[in-house]
Amino acid sequence: MKLPINWLNEFFRQDLDPDNVVDKLTLSGLECKLVTHKNKPVIDFSLTPNRADCFSVKGILQELSAISNKSYQELTDADCEIHHKDIIPIEVKSVKDCPVFLTRVIKNYNNKTQSPQWLKERLELCGFKSINLIVDIANLVMLETGQPLHTYDLDCIKSKIIVRRAKNKETLNILDGTQKILNKNFLIIADDKKPLGVAGIMGSLESGISEKTSSILVESAYFNYETIMGKARMLSLYSEASLRFERGVDPNIQKNAIERFTQILNQVAGGENGPISQSISNKDKPKNKTILLRKEQIKRILGITIPNQKIKSILGKLKMDTQEIDFGYEGWKVKAPSYRFDIEDECDLIEEIARIYGYDTIPETRETQEINLNQGTKRLDKRNIINNLLCNLGYSEVINYSFVSPSMNASSNNSTIDVMDLRNPLSLEMSVMRNSLWPGLLSNLVYNIKRQQKDIRLFEIGKVFSSLNKSPHEITVIAGLAYGKSNREQWAKTNTPIDFFDVKGDLETLLECFNLKSEVSFKQKTHKILCPGRTASINLKNKVIGYIGELNPEVTNDLKLDSNPIVFELDHDVLKTSMDLNYLPSKYFPYSRRDLSLLMDEEIEINEVIELIESIKIKDLEEIIIFDVFKGDKIGADRKSVSIGLIFQSKSRTLNDDEIDQSMLMINQKILRKLNVTVR
């Protein structure tokens, strides 16, 4: 809401200082800023939903006087002259939804009259477009009093006005030209033939004011705010009226508003006024209940003791009806004015006291709390281990949106489990919850290549989502992408393109940080987005916990990359910081090394050989090192030569050559027996 300061000035003896007013209102809880429009100072308010009472000049005046001791001149509310007796009968079928409903027929005003300049200008400063005289005056009165008015072309109303719930699928053509389909949750204003408008939100196209209109029906109503709440959102039809009605309009100002409207219309364009026709159900009007405000509770929540005198004065300024209990020793019985819908409980009153007393006046203190050293920093520790390692390996962390396009999800996950679709996405590109972090990393890669970055390594830790039995399922994963050369370009290091084993090594180092390296195995697998033959599942015991591989050239072809990126993705929850480490006492005994060169079919996975050697369970075989893999014409097509170093070391004694020779013999025999290999 925007209000020009000049309008407020009309009610004070002295002009307000704009900066000071804005400052005071801000510190009392009405967020606002000073702007200038056409060289005039205007206050632009961002009102919170609780302060319905401030949606008007009247409300701001009340607030200003409460916080600054300034008295203002009340709005005039003289009754207008009556010229004829015509009324439209009112039938309110749902009084609970509409306790107060007032109308007046005004005939034969000069419909050639344009809105006067002062009116147009005032509305413009308030951010309203001038529409026509009738609508402009209604808007002005709403801004002044807080009461939204609705005006109908009198000729469009047949016999009587009915306020009722809409029938299911009942339709209404709205002023903006669209048709809305209603249901029984909506309150409507109708005649006995057709709906004329959705109560508190917008009128129908047909019943609106046109150039030909010369007689009107003005409506000034109080609708139960719970009836109006959320309805504008359901219809995507926010209006200034709905904004006020769904937060609550003072149920005692309907008559004033209709008189004020009549007064201005008569002044500007004449017209013949009928009597006010009304349906009022006092028992259905909202009642402000009496709230017990305990002195001790004020101290308990705010942490300070505010003198009784001060509390009484604050409540008085806010027009609260206050009755002392036990001379104020216990507290007060308080009743808020009818326009304060937000004051429901004691805590609301405590906030009112704090806000007028001034939040800045309340001191800061420190809590006394029991020391708790058991909160643990595991989460942070784990993240630091991962972050430090991956950053040192050259990976930079990225953060991508959790929603992607359906095609991205379809291409990047191996499983056929359902995805989570957003019902109201911002765009197709952001319409499903990601089931892999790879699409995000890939788009980051493309973006950075376009900006001439060369050696790119990225990682992300985030959630991936799926739908299990129609319930959402989310797990945290860690994913990485590496592209370009294995080193940055420099004079002293040879620079080969990053390959599968660079990244596998990074991943193994990460697993080693969490003592998982020996428990995790890699198995040749296929994956939609990865290159066949260069894809592995990552397995912990028998469970697949992730994938690593080279991106499929079919996927990356259009991207015109120099080499294929290597990616990995891994369940983040399997990485656990170890709490139960135990030291094993060890003495030093020298190790011996034996090398073994094997010639074998290219098909045979090295892992087979290693597992075979391990299966012999030689007690003192400490480590197996693969130090060379060679392919070439010399050894024949489809063959490879693999050199393995075997480290023997005992924890209790120095091994002698004979027993190592014995072990080597066993290894040789086992390999030769089980695999089609030659020992060179």
Partner: protein, 328 residues
Amino acid sequence: MTKSLSDLTRQAIEDISNCSSLKELDSVRVFYLGKKGKVSLELKSLSNLDPKERPKFGKQINEIKKTLQEKISLKKADLNNQKIKASIEDAAIDITLPGKTSLIGNIHPLSKTLNEIEKIFINAGFLVDDGPEIEDEYHNFTALNMPDNHPARAMHDTFYFDNEYLLRTHTSPIQIRTMERDGVPIRVIAPGKVYRRDSDITHTPMFHQVEGLVIDNDINFTHLKGILHDFINSFFNDDMNLRFRPSYFPFTEPSAEVDLLSSDGQWLEILGCGMVHPKVLDNLGIDNKKFSGYAFGMGVERLTMLKYGIKDIRLFYENDLSFLSQFK
């Protein structure tokens, strides 16, 4: 000493001094002192002599042997020194050439901020907890005193799924879950991603929040002011000027926005907070006569932008390496 012995000695000394490498010296040593070397042979030939003569010659030969060994080790030390000197003379490299470096990455600026926030609150005795990003209406709204159709729900423009699920619009539901699990007293912060259906220069549809909640006996507004001021001072590593002004959140009462006075004299909104609304305590079955509490929430993007002078929130999600690499 016989002539042959003295000739042998002279010749050996000359040979030793003529050596120009350690390898050569070693072959000279073998030639004279090795198992089959000349001096060793002389020792062996003692057996051909008259036993009376033996001790005398034996002594002489051993002395020669000793002399030669000394000469050899002196020469060896000399040659070693020469070798070291030579290697030092050749040692010069262009030390202005760059060192061999590896690529080094860094964490995202938002992670950096999140880590800093978490550290500060862990030091203040807070538990750090997380929860699902896809939430139900109860935990995201209803439990937090935002019933159906509440206008505050419109403030949280929400992404919905079918079956009443939604993307959490704040991290408060984490705290609800922590309370359901652990009960009170409680001291927790909940960092994480949140989602609102909004996208422009100042809004991204996904962003990060840290919300905090303390419920205990005798918690009041002065404590809230105290902890938040301490936090802000610690985060910006300076004595900051704050202002608390009344605001509205359905789950707190009284509610406040906290503004920070920037170096150019502007008040900048940095976080929202308040005393936990008694209805929220009721919803969780907590006795509001015994317990009271405060809650606060802050935008991680906003704090990061203020700390590093970043003007456009969208930079965080472009993941441009030239942007990211500035936050080492």
